[in-house]
């Protein structure tokens, strides 16, 4: 697993899961604030963001460098302050994957989930340069 994800995962390495708090929730799921980030070797590089209170509900996410070569979401000052990012390297970026029947999987590059690896608090942000990125970016298979 790439080094962007090892830090939080190491904290609970025994079961490959990290507790992530999203105080604002995900858009459309504002009331759900507690998630478990699951890593399963068979699913790498994908991860699962699973609701703590409803373990049957989860989102498939992927680190963006597996999707495109140059992804630089520009975080707003408010989001940087909210996430208490003291350095950009503290940020873990994950993008939600959608698989639709009979269609190419897509990745949401417009609304990434950014997690502070030090506090494990995250937020689905809309970057300042969100207009540069697609909400349904086709996932090129390799």
């Amino acid at each position: 697993m790439n080094n962007l994800l090892t830090a939080p995962v190491e904290r609970q390495a025994a079961n490959g899961a990290s507790l992530i708090q999203l105080p604002c929730g995900l858009l459309g799921f504002e009331r759900v604030k507690n998630y478990i980030l699951l890593t399963r070797p068979a699913e790498e590089p994908f991860l699962r963001l699973q609701m703590v209170e409803e373990p049957k509900r989860s989102f498939l996410v992927v680190p963006p460098h597996f999707v495109i070569a140059d992804y630089r979401p520009d975080l707003s000052e408010l989001d940087v302050a909210f996430l208490e990012l003291e350095d950009p390297s503290e940020a873990i970026v994950l993008n939600i994957v959608t698989i639709r029947a009979g269609a190419q999987p897509t990745v949401n590059l417009k609304g990434p989930i950014v997690v502070n690896r030090r506090t494990l608090i995250g937020k689905q942000v809309i970057p300042i340069n969100a207009a540069e990125y697609a909400i349904r970016h086709p996932l090129a298979l390799s």
């Binding site: 105080p23 858009l27 498939l60 460098h65 970026v93 970057p127």
Partner: protein
Amino acid sequence: MLILSRKPGESIVIDGRITVKIMRLEGDVVRVGIEAPQSVPVHRQEVYDEIQKNNQEALNQTLGQLPRLTAKAEPSAPRTARSSIPHARP
């Protein structure tokens, strides 16, 4: 729906903590300034609707259909304005 008339420079306060101010009128465009606590998400409605819809579609993807992926680049950090990083100033 509560409908209020406001002039440029006038504001509306919501819940005692969110201020919506009419900045100015530019033709058929209204410039609106919003002050809200950091924990209150503020988005344009369209972006919000799009991402919300995509999130709902993305819930509970079935396993077994996962495509194989290889890294396209080294992991990179998001951009954060240096001046905006707390404690970054000497």
